[in-house]
Amino acid sequence: MLRNARLSLHIPEPSARPGDRPDFRHLALRPAGETRRPEPESPAAEMRDLPYELVRVLDDQGQAQGPWAPLIPSETLRRGLAAMVLTRAFDDRIFRLQRQGKTSFYMRSTGEEALSVAPSLVLDTGDMCFPTYRNVGFLMARDYPLLDLVNQIFSNARDPLKGRQMPVLYSARDYGFYSVSGNLGSRIGHAVGWAMASAWSGDDKIALAYIGEGTVAEGAVHEALTFATVYHAPVILAISNNQWAISSFHGLAGGNETTFAARALAYGLPGLRVDGNDFLAVHAAVAWAAERARSNLGATLIEFVTYRTSGHSTSDDPARYRPDEEPAAFPLGDPVERLKTHMIAAGHWSEADHDALVRDCDERVRATVKEGEAVGTLGVTKPPLGSMFEDVFKTPDWRQIRQRREVEG
């Protein structure tokens, strides 16, 4: 009977478009604390259920639940919260600056701060993060100088990247933050190679690579997974499933058929599906994967379930493709609010502390932006003109030398 049926091409559609009621039933959530936690040294073959579960620690009351609840010093939680609040204040402020024409472009990570900040606190100095454009929280958690970020965003005379890159495509080797590029998926293989080099050298460094769920479709991701598997590379491959890739919903990367964490199964890698808005769960999952990696047990794939509450970038208008009410309806809440609630419930934080933190972050951002503006907004000051010919090669060849001379007159 089926054989006689006419074929038709399946074209996936999201659960809601503008005008529809948001619908997140596909997330198949689990209550906090329910997902089991195998010992990190367990064989991957014994944890093939995990990609279909959801590692959650914080419940709706902000209490830490279950086997994944990490033992984190309250000082670390305070640092994490501060970095998330700072990230948000920075994102909001720079977004507005772009609207005022002071730079060309900006991308916020609003709603996804936990999945950048917590891993930054787990990784050691010497480890390397291979970020996307949405991971500035990783730098915030390591006290990267805010002014350097602002100068990069303005491409001004003190831009550490010499005016070469669009805003947010940072590079900060000393902070364990690899050069970002706009090309999706192009660095995940570098993370694997970097991790292979650490193992080859007999070091103890590990790598962490981020990609968006949309980027899972790129062939480069599958190549990287193969290498990570074959060589047991000490790398953590993190997928930020923020539901949207510009206007394309997660189903266009195969998210309707299975979870992104479950990609690990075909490779024989451990795969974790983690509440990405739960700071404690993110911290615990990355610490678990890092322990495996450092024990020479190889790579782990982690899907962080989260939501991109802002537009894709300053060039985007999400009202054109998703319901305006969708961000507020996302069932995993807001990472800042959830950690704050937890810390207050645990007795080492208060609303007054939080208000002071928010004020302090706003003030720091405002003061730093002022300093950056004094150096120059986009186009007002620039690095020296001739510097555009540097770094093509270590030593310029005759083309750059001649062309530089022509430009400098």
Binding site: L9, I11, E13, R17, S104, F105, S155, N156, D159, K162, G163, R164, Q165, M166, L169, S181, G182, N183, L184, G185, G214, T215, A217, E218, G219, A220, A245, I246, S247, S248, L252, A253, G254, S315, R320, Y321, L378, G379, K382, P383, L385, M388, F389, V392, R399, Q400, Q403, V407
Partner: protein
């Protein structure tokens, strides 16, 4: 006749072809419901249904590979690569597969695909949203490479490209989407509506691939250009007062060699301009051809005005971009040179 900007003209070409050819379909990143990040497919999914215009996974290699497969089956896929900078994961599919399928199967299979992609600088896109990769396609035997410079041409050339039974790379100068940018970023944006080539017929028309357009007649020097640089070259001619003949190549492959050589033989001088880096650029091929075909008519060395041999830097966009001042200087050097 309706007035269109370049995006509307491209949209109109796609609309015309969707209605004429039931086997034509469009896919690419964000092109379906949303209508594309530059809005080139706006309204098409709503008008023709998702089956005719749909979103693709973020996989340029996958987009081109499946387009080839669909084309081999007998459909006529028109795919969008969101930025030309991101076409490189698909390069193997274009070079080793699309370009050679007909040849290696002795005509048994072929790939009637059109690959639309925005290219070029001028929007502060830095090294990841500004590049001009035409030379790496023009070099590949078996691919046709088209670059329009006006709304009228964009529609006519895109229709011709879609009707081709061979693979066509259709590079869209994104700085020209909204207006005929002449290389003066400090001036207010000039909309297409004041330009004669924004008059675009609503229906079907095709501009045959391989026909260049003399956009400015002149006797003193021939300027070979395409895409954004066509407008920059015209501005440079106007600003220097040099009687330049500006040729818009429109298609790099196949190249309208007769129009090029006729003009250079007439003027005896030639300036080539493109936005891409200089070394090994398409200008190098043009320069070699002009030298081979017109050597005894040349009264001055051939000049090339191009982007520098660096990636496209964000802060120095307008220092990298070969604007009217640089083109004007080359024009002067070329007309003043004596052999």
């Amino acid at each position: 006749m309706p007035r269109m900007n370049m995006i509307q003209a491209i949209n109109s070409a796609l609309d015309v072809m969707l209605s004429r050819d039931p086997k034509m379909l469009i896919f690419g990143e964000d092109v379906g419901y949303f209508g594309g990040v530059f809005r080139a497919t706006d309204g098409l999914a709503a008008k023709y249904g998702a089956k005719r215009c749909f979103d693709a996974p973020i996989s340029e290699g996958g987009i081109i590979a499946t387009a080839i497969g669909m084309g081999a089956y007998g459909l006529r896929p028109v795919v969008e690569i969101q930025f030309a900078d991101y076409i490189l994961p698909a390069y193997d599919q274009l070079v080793s597969e699309a370009a050679r399928l007909r040849y290696r199967s002795a005509g048994d299979f072929w790939a009637p695909i059109t690959v639309r992609t925005p290219y070029g600088g001028g929007i502060f896109g830095g090294q990841t949203h500004s590049s001009s990769p035409e030379a790496i396609f023009a070099h590949v035997t078996g691919l046709k490479t088209v670059i329009p410079s006006t709304p009228y041409d964009a529609k006519g050339l895109l229709i011709a490209a879609i009707e081709e039974d061979d693979p066509v790379i259709f590079l869209e100068p994104k700085r020209l989407y909204q207006g005929p940018f002449d290389g003066h970023p400090e001036r207010p944006v000039e909309p297409w509506s004041n330009h004669p080539a924004s008059e675009v017929p609503e229906g079907h028309y095709a501009i045959p691939l391989g026909t260049a357009n003399v956009v400015r007649a002149g006797r003193a020097v021939t300027v070979l250009a395409y895409g954004t640089m066509v407008h920059v070259a015209q501005a440079a001619a106007a600003e220097t007062g040099i009687d330049a003949e500006v040729i818009d190549l429109r298609t790099l492959v196949p190249l309208d060699i007769d129009t090029v050589t006729a003009s250079v033989k007439k003027t005896g001088r030639c300036v080539i301009v493109h936005e891409a880096s200089r070394f090994g650029g398409y200008g190098a091929e043009l320069s070699a051809l002009v030298q081979e075909e017109c050597f005894y008519h040349l009264q001055a060395p051939i000049e090339r005005v191009t982007g520098w041999d660096t990636p496209y830097p964000h802060a120095f966009e307008w220092d990298y971009f070969p604007g009217p001042a640089r083109v004007g200087k080359a024009l002067r050097r070329c007309v003043e040179a004596e052999t």
